[in-house]
Symmetry: C2
Subunit: 432 residues, 2 copies
């Protein structure tokens, strides 16, 4: 299949941050093959998509989420963390079955496609069901089975979660034309013993798999680590050798300057989740300090139970706003930086130079935004418009791997009514 | 004209915060006349609006803005305050003419109607042109001519701004079936001398007019006031007798506990502008402390040059999120409180019990939200959904004073293409 995006304003997100006007972008199969001035031959054998008064940009990469938690959206809010977790979230999650997770994932994927996300980085359980939803829907995802210590033997050879992680990675990594990649997901230092973290690390290393972990999310986690291990959570993982593997560490709200140096040294990517960190009162991550140190920072929504949506435009906006207000410095995290976190930096996190920017040879993961709304007029500086004025609903077309998955409110690969019907049934069963 | 909103979920925002399901709401002329269970006779002689899978709530009240500044949207961002003001905003504003302000206002009003705002509280200049845009568009507004000291005589009898304020109030207060109300707008303590503030106060008192003022927005303003007047900005205005008139004070970021007590004592309404305060690095207003003290807090977007939109759903979201994250307390500013700030509290600020909630006898300022989007599924707790999941684009119908002004992307009273055309022309002239 060949598509021609004609007459677009293109936010390339390339290293020069070029913005091109009246531009043709040609997609052949799963790749971008041309970006430049209009040429008549581009239209040959192409489906032409008129982009007048529209803006084309790379699809957004959601750097940290738990997609089936859409099922728990707006269920428990404005509560103490312990009450929220132990009285609401965990009891509901205990009732989950594989098919619930499948439909919850489809719901989350619909939401992501409609709001411009073309790839997400996830950690949960019933991962086969999530992978199936990814495969079916056409979105791109980096998936890990979240695991924590349990009491099954000291060498963890019969550990259910770890064995599922190994099987999951072998079964799904590289599947769906490479749209699915796998990782290992040791949950966090407060749910995984040091020995278990080592076992997970070794299993991942053997398979050449990367790591996705929660790190230093709350002050409690940070203080407990100092008390229990005599070091910060980041130093703890560093010393266990986890960071020797390619790692994405979610949150990093309480990291110290020394921790930031360790993250930089080991090329750990930090997934910043401003909405979730605010809502759960975890705190404000030192993002400007991490960027300054050269750490690769990406943006995530976290699960919809603590956000309560999977709207990356909100996260871009929050990432650009909160540091300025909290540190009284209007120059912190400018619009371009926030947009990078949601695009190219996500590609880097996945070791993929062909994701997160628009240039020939890259994957055709693209989104189109309608500029014909009052809040996008006048447009003036397009990066400012995207970070400070845009709404997720401005997205009118989402393409992944060269396939249009969403256009003007319509999902091409997902039966919306069926998913809503199933979600209603599931929620009646699992929620009080 | 009679309308029947049939089978709606209704967020009443009444004192019991009732949420009604499968509800009829009947509007006759400019008022709500019925709220309750479906009755066949409600449909008689009514235009029926099917609200299945839709949510009806009071229109949002934007508590502080400068609506024509939509013209400067995305023009200058991520800059130091002084650079932003003196190198970009003021030079552009100097080129403004009355007709520019008229079209800038229409653009802002379109944006507000499309995002669920039915009333806005404004301070700017060329106020006749703003009032004309309000009259024509059908929205509701509380308007004040922003004034500051200049060098024209010590008794200010020939002060252009003050005289315009008096004329504006006399000409427009109560006009357009009462949709327009007037106020006096002394800009701020750092642009108005004490003598001038007294002159404005006296002129307003003579006419029985209320006050709209910027207050304690930045640390600089706060510290300068301590140095120049030996007291805080709030105490300064209190001592000048300004708060003896009905007052809306925008920002109040740096107010002290003593200031909060003064604001409470004088029933001053505080307009909180979280987006603008973050973006301009002004700081985080002590909103929980003000609410705790019983101060009436409302929500505003500020101008689109420092936000960069007029999206009240974003402000609701920010108001609910930022206090939690900054003060590490997930119980601060819950969803209901944030929604009150954007609705009933706005009614209170205007001395209007018939605005900001849904009950018989109230003004028919109503908005309808489409719940059939992935990010609003499952709905679970409707107030959580509105504060944490919703997007402004979920608004599918906006009614002011019993008239539908916006429905499904279409503006009933404003020629969208003409406004866009004029905005383009104006921006080419006034922006570099």
């Amino acid at each position: 299949m060949k598509y021609l995006f004609r007459n677009a304003m293109v936010i390339t997100m390339n290293s020069e941050m070029e913005i091109l006007e009246n531009c043709d972008v040609v997609v052949k199969d799963d790749r971008i093959v041309y970006v430049g001035k209009a040429k008549p031959e581009n239209a040959e054998h192409s489906k032409v998509i008129d982009c007048t008064r529209k803006l084309l940009m790379p699809g957004l990469i959601n750097g940290h989420t738990h997609v089936p938690m859409t099922l728990l959206r707006n269920y428990a809010d404005d509560k103490e963390l312990q009450t929220w977790l132990f009285d609401y979230i965990f009891p509901a999650e205990e009732k989950l079955e594989g098919r619930d997770v499948y439909y919850g994932s489809l719901l989350g994927i619909m939401e992501m496609l409609a709001s411009g996300t073309t790839c997400f980085i996830d950690m949960y359980f019933f991962m086969d069901d999530i992978a199936e939803a990814v495969e079916k829907s056409g979105i791109r995802a980096h998936l890990s089975r979240g695991v924590s210590t349990n009491d099954r033997g000291s060498d963890f050879s019969d550990h259910k979660g770890l064995n599922e992680s190994i099987e999951f990675y072998k079964k799904w990594n590289g599947v769906a034309c490479g749209r699915i990649t796998g990782a290992f997901g040791p949950h966090a230092i407060y749910t995984c013993s040091p020995e278990f973290l080592k076992a997970v690390r070794n299993a991942a290393e053997k398979l050449g798999a990367p790591i996705h972990v929660h790190l230093d999310e709350t002050r409690t986690e940070h203080e407990d680590s100092l008390r229990n291990f005599g070091k910060t959570p980041a130093k703890h993982l560093y010393d266990l050798g986890l960071f020797d593997l390619k790692t994405i560490a979610a949150h990093c709200v309480w990291v110290t300057p020394d921790d930031i140096a360790l993250l930089r040294e080991k090329d750990v990517t930090v997934a910043h989740n401003p909405g979730s960190n605010l809502k759960l009162a975890s705190g404000i991550a030192p993002v400007p300090e991490m960027i300054e140190a050269g750490v690769n920072v990406i943006l995530g929504t976290d699960g919809a139970s603590s956000n309560n949506n999977l709207n990356m435009f909100e996260e871009i906006n929050l990432a650009a706003l909160i540091q300025k207000g909290v540190k009284l410095d209007p120059l912190l995290v400018n619009a371009q930086e926030a947009l990078k976190m949601a695009t190219v930096n996500g590609g880097k996190a996945l070791g993929r130079k062909d994701l997160g920017s628009i240039k020939p040879g890259n994957k055709a993961d693209l989104i189109l935004l309608d500029l014909d709304k009052p809040h996008m007029n006048p447009l003036n500086k397009p990066c400012s418009a995207l970070a400070y004025s845009a709404q997720a609903a401005d997205v009118c077309l989402t393409m992944v791997d060269g396939r249009i998955l969403y256009r003007d409110g319509e999902f091409k690969t997902i039966d919306q009514e069926k998913v809503y019907y199933q979600i209603q049934k599931i929620c009646r069963r699992i929620l009080n």
